[in-house]
Symmetry: C2
Subunit: 351 residues, 2 copies
């Protein structure tokens, strides 16, 4: 397979680590990165070391709006003199519309990784609209978790097909890695009874870098939704964390794992349950991330196959490797002329 | 993805179960099957029920030679009057060269599943040669395990590319399913230290149907090789089984898992070890089939991810589902114009 070039939209925790992990992958070249403050584009490949050093601590937890220019003061955004966010890198320049910069250079970009916050659940779909309007043809990848976003992307299926866009949704640890594992584990069976995905995340040292993720997780709690979670101040989030003694349990999450496994023909969405334990005060995982797939074999036996991630593997490690892998699988599909919306489990061998 | 048609060469244990499991898969139509005695071809789809009923117990453990007509008496081949093997089915007719029959109808066959014995380790490559000579363009899939066969297929890479053949090798439980799992489990890491594949098979009730597999496994024991194993009489095999009290342990097997994981860029072949326990006197697995992948994350942590198959899943269940899945993934590649030799882990998202 040929060389793959990619852009990262967003240089927060996820975006920066995507760049870092891509250095370990052969044939995968980051050529563009942006945040709300500016853009860096270099088709010879970005200088990832310089960019990471310059943007260290560049975690912008303010609520994003339309993917255009900054609309509010960023809390926690690193500043070098006048320069904010990615512009602190000497490769980057300020921009009034960083996303448009990337779209304008889309011809040399095989794939675009959306590492943007998603407090408004239509934010990613609206960014996709901008790429559609801008005439981009290629792969777009998000690492989202919420089922309803998939539906919004599905509404654009025809537009993606016409444009030549292959949109890979939910390509991170979950749904990404874990639905991939479920699709694989399902291969012993001709009938699936249940897929249970239970994750554990210990986030003490990564807490500062992942406040956006924690905010999104809070939106999954029974008393909250995306709208109320985005209204929360940092103090209110701290209060919620305190109320739970730092360990928040999630049951029956509205995670896209269910619809993505159904799309891939693995099982019915209603047979999938997702839950997890988040500990923001320890780096130890409060529970081992486990996928269990129970089904019946062709010869009538019931069994349960399991996939487990070691507690020593961070959420970051389990997001970034898979996302880049699915990105490449998406590029292969795109080059073969297969466009539209596709989930990670559909990129597995179609069992 | 469009409808996929496939042929099965060989109607022993593996071939018959492929047909059976394919009934549970949408969009996958068996259109041809053959053994050394005859052929059945129907582009409307075979009547699998009739074929399975007619060929029940149709396990031919004699040593195959050139894929052409029968050369020796088949022991254990079911006979209905004059008809032997697949010819016992009313859909089939006797043939002097069943493989040629399939090749002659190759235009309507997207993929050919090679469920043939492989006592001579160049048998599958020689069958591939026949498809090359016959001008077949499409997918060929084997469920072999031995590293050296991959090398022989690699020698034909140029010929496959010219012919438009995508050859998927080792698509069964192992290497197939388990190297796929290893490729997935490796995603948390940027550097892999070791992949350990340890399988357990309990084969009491399946022993009769899997004598070919047992013979092949014996060839992996320190005192045997493919040549000496094929010389063994049924009594000699029984004596070996007795010597081990029915449970044979295999260490450092010459399994293609290593070369196939290296091909897929997951790790070096030398970091892969394969071993297992075969119990022919119990259906209980003597050990749980487990894949453990140990590596280092991008953030410097060492961890081990694991994939386990429930003891209740039979070898047959773990061979046939994955093989049909990889077959479809192969067809997708083939339709995209990607030809040559490919291993199961390469059909996973290219992480």
């Amino acid at each position: 397979m040929e060389e793959t070039t990619f852009a990262v939209l967003g240089t927060g925790g996820i975006g920066r680590r995507m760049l870092e992990v891509s250095r370990h992958k052969e044939g995968l070249t980051p050529v563009a990165a942006c945040d709300r403050h500016g853009t860096t584009i270099d088709f010879d490949g970005l200088d990832v070391d310089e960019l990471l050093a310059a943007t260290e601590g560049n975690i912008d937890s303010e609520v994003a709006t339309d993917g255009g220019a900054a609309t509010a003061d960023g809390e926690g955004v690193k500043q070098h003199g006048e320069d904010r966010g990615v512009v602190a890198s000497e490769q980057a320049r300020p921009s009034d519309d960083p996303i448009q910069d990337v779209i304008d250079h889309g011809e040399g970009i095989d794939a675009v990784l959306l590492a943007l916050p998603n407090y408004e659940h239509d934010f990613i779909p609206r960014v996709a609209d901008r790429f559609l309007e801008g005439g981009y043809a290629g792969v777009m990848v998000d690492v989202l978790k919420r089922s309803r976003v998939i539906g919004m992307l599905d509404d654009r299926e025809g537009a993606f097909e016409e444009a030549g866009i292959t949109f890979v949704c939910g390509a991170g640890a979950t749904p990404g890695l874990l639905t991939g594992a479920a699709a694989l584990a399902a291969q012993s069976f001709v009938e699936i009874e249940s897929v249970e995905i239970r994750w554990g995340v210990g986030l003490e040292s990564g807490y500062e870098d992942n406040r956006g993720t924690v905010r999104e997780d809070i939106a999954h709690l029974p008393d909250y939704d995306i709208e109320t979670a985005r209204e929360l101040s940092a103090d209110e989030i701290e209060a919620i964390v305190d109320d739970h003694d730092g360990v928040i349990e999630f049951e029956d999450m509205e995670h896209a794992d269910d619809v993505l496994l159904e799309r891939a023909g693995v099982c019915d969405a209603e047979d999938v349950t997702v839950g997890g334990l988040l500990d923001v005060r320890s780096d130890e995982k409060p529970t081992t991330t486990t996928v269990t797939v129970t089904g019946t074999t062709f010869d009538g036996e019931q069994g349960t196959n399991t996939f487990q991630l070691d507690d020593a593997t961070s959420m970051a490690a389990n997001v970034n490797g898979p996302a880049l892998g699915y990105l490449r699988a998406g590029v292969r599909r795109n080059r073969a002329g297969e466009y539209g919306v596709v989930g990670p489990a559909e990129l597995m061998p179609r069992f």
